[in-house]
Symmetry: C2
Subunit: 381 residues, 2 copies
């Protein structure tokens, strides 16, 4: 039995909405389904304003433009993240300042942020690894003290909560991913930007629409639109928004199934965590996961290798996670050395991400747990 | 009878391919349909390398990154274009240098380019207005002499030819649009970047994949990918690529129908052009149109207004075209005044774009011609 690392959830509703969008022949961005998907997010999670974008990367670029990130500005972010987090600001000339992670969550270590702040710092850009929110309240306090913008890269955490507030509702800017690999996806590629600064909303519409005030024409305020700002085409095809809406409407089913996967993995791995063989995320009362992913940090990298190899023999596909950015070829160009962030390097050499998708709850979960049990018993006796 | 300005061509094949892509559950970018659409373009038009992107804007941004456009670099482009042309380079800090247009084509006036070149000039960025190629051979000669990069904004001209060479095959970089409003569209939103410099191809794959060398992993050259360059997520969902492939396979039908619209408009407007009432594009032997659009420059702006108002009474939707960039709010921020480009200002005040879509050939074309004949007779007696 093959257990892929990921398998997107697709329902009959996806097909129905996608065809409806295509047949409408009004399927460019911000049309009927896009508007419905945005309303859905606003109604359910109370976001002030949401822009659907072609990707989470594009959402973060739009956030960087809204923040007026300029060459030489410093942005503090974890090294343990996907390259999009850093690229979204360096393409505009920002300098990345990499921060250590907290080994308990693999998210940015909030206690190490303040020492990295200089007069050039403009933004803190944390991520929500594996769908677990970073300590956003503490980050907002630091940002307030130093007058910084916070953009939360919530690529993995749509649908989760921090202190009963939905992810995306707290910082100045939040970017979500609706890529094929995420809990809910927009026809394979898509993203969203939440903007929680009301004064930035209008500019957001201009930037999304190629730097024009077309929005004012649609609103009947102007008769012709013109070039008024920087911008790009940060629009999501209505066909992709249609699929996203279908997934939003199936959110309960998706989360219920994914929770079963989480529970099964805890059932197996918590014992090994308690025995000190490996470590897994220990749920915190103030954070609700969206059941996006499950990671394991082994006690050493050779046990990780054995685990991965043995599972591959059973056709179960696990994944090593990120290579740290600071010690990658580009990180080195920015002057970093591997030993600058020892903890990140160490953890990255021992972490594994497990297969995780809603469909596992229906088929494959028992097989996966059975085989993982065998392998762990082999490793830890 | 309502005649919209545009109406996308959609066939049963679009539905079939879109559903196939969705059901594959491998519908992120560069999957099966994306690869087929790219092969189609390469086989038919001989492009060296093509990247499918979420929009033409994104394609141009990717081209700007590949060209290493940096703050302070000057880019020469016509003022008579869409804001995306200029935004794709100014978001990276480039300074726009606006050039006059040739009133015969409304494309960049090649004879005025060289006087705008300074030691800071890095790129010439012409467009192909209404699907008619700019004088790309002459532009390439100027670029070669001054060691400049040429990126052709062929948003409107996919499928056309210049001296028997397909648009996109001549300059260093070409961006195509597959937006809802274009001859062929990728599910509402999409674009493509042709890269004609072989040494840039690999870097293109890295930049398209968030600045990672994931391509080398897919090719089996490496086992793990890492952060190696600047980049973004310049990928087109495979669902959108599926629709694009369907349209590509219907290209002959689309072009045949659009040619009927072109022919009908010439049948009406050439007489008025010859009489000096207005002017339209006069076909050139060395350029083949893709029948994207039809524009009319009236003898004065009040006749343009009458034409537009009367047609609106018949529910026929015409469009004023671009507001010049140099005299827009952003152009003024860059130090331009309306009178800096007198010809562009003048033409923009007199031009009209006519309704144009493949479906008109089946329904609406006769009605449109009949009503336009009435209105022109009223204006010019």
């Amino acid at each position: 039995m093959r257990i892929p690392f990921n398998k997107p959830y697709i329902s009959a509703k996806d097909e129905q909405y996608v065809l409806e969008a295509l047949r409408s022949a009004r399927h460019s961005g911000n049309n009927a389904f896009g508007q419905k998907a945005i309303s859905f997010m606003k109604d359910k999670y109370g976001f002030q304003e949401v822009f659907l974008t072609p990707s989470c990367t594009a959402a973060m670029e739009m956030g960087a433009l809204l923040s007026d990130i300029k060459p030489g500005d410093e942005v503090i972010l974890p090294s343990y993240t996907f390259s999009s987090t850093v690229n979204a600001v360096i393409i505009f000339g920002a300098i990345p300042v990499f921060c250590e992670i907290d080994p308990k969550s693999l998210n940015i270590d909030v206690s190490k942020i303040e020492e990295l702040i200089t007069p050039k710092t403009r933004m803190i850009l944390p991520i929500d690894y594996a769908g677990i929110s970073c300590e956003i309240d503490e980050i907002m306090l630091i940002a307030k003290k130093h007058n910084l913008i916070v953009m939360q890269d919530s690529a993995q955490s749509y649908g989760g909560f921090y202190k009963n507030k939905p992810n995306g509702s707290i910082p100045h800017l939040t970017a979500f991913s609706f890529h094929e690999t995420k809990n809910m996806n927009a026809g394979g590629e898509g993203g969203g930007l939440v903007v929680n600064i009301p004064e930035w909303h209008q500019r957001g519409f201009f930037m999304q629409e190629k730097g024009t005030d077309r929005r004012l024409v649609l609103d009947g305020v102007k008769s012709k639109y013109s070039w008024v700002d920087k911008g790009s085409s940060y629009l999501l095809s209505d066909i992709l928004a249609a699929s996203l809406l279908a997934q939003f409407e199936n959110e309960d089913d998706i989360l219920e199934k994914r929770k079963k996967v989480t529970d099964a993995y805890y059932g197996l791995f918590q014992l090994h965590h308690d025995a000190g063989n490996l470590s897994i995320y220990q749920p915190q009362k103030h954070i609700s996961s969206n059941h996006h992913a499950f990671w394991v940090v082994f006690d050493n990298s050779s046990n990780r290798s054995v685990f991965m190899e043995k599972l591959r023999e059973y056709d179960i596909h696990v994944y090593i996670g990120y290579l740290p950015l600071h010690s990658s070829p580009m990180g080195i160009k920015y002057g970093y050395k591997a030993e600058d962030l020892i903890l990140t390097e160490d953890i990255a050499s021992r972490v594994v991400r497990l297969p995780f998708y809603a469909g596992m709850a229906d088929e494959g979960l028992d097989y996966t747990i059975e085989k993982m049990t065998l392998v762990l018993n082999k490793i830890y006796g």
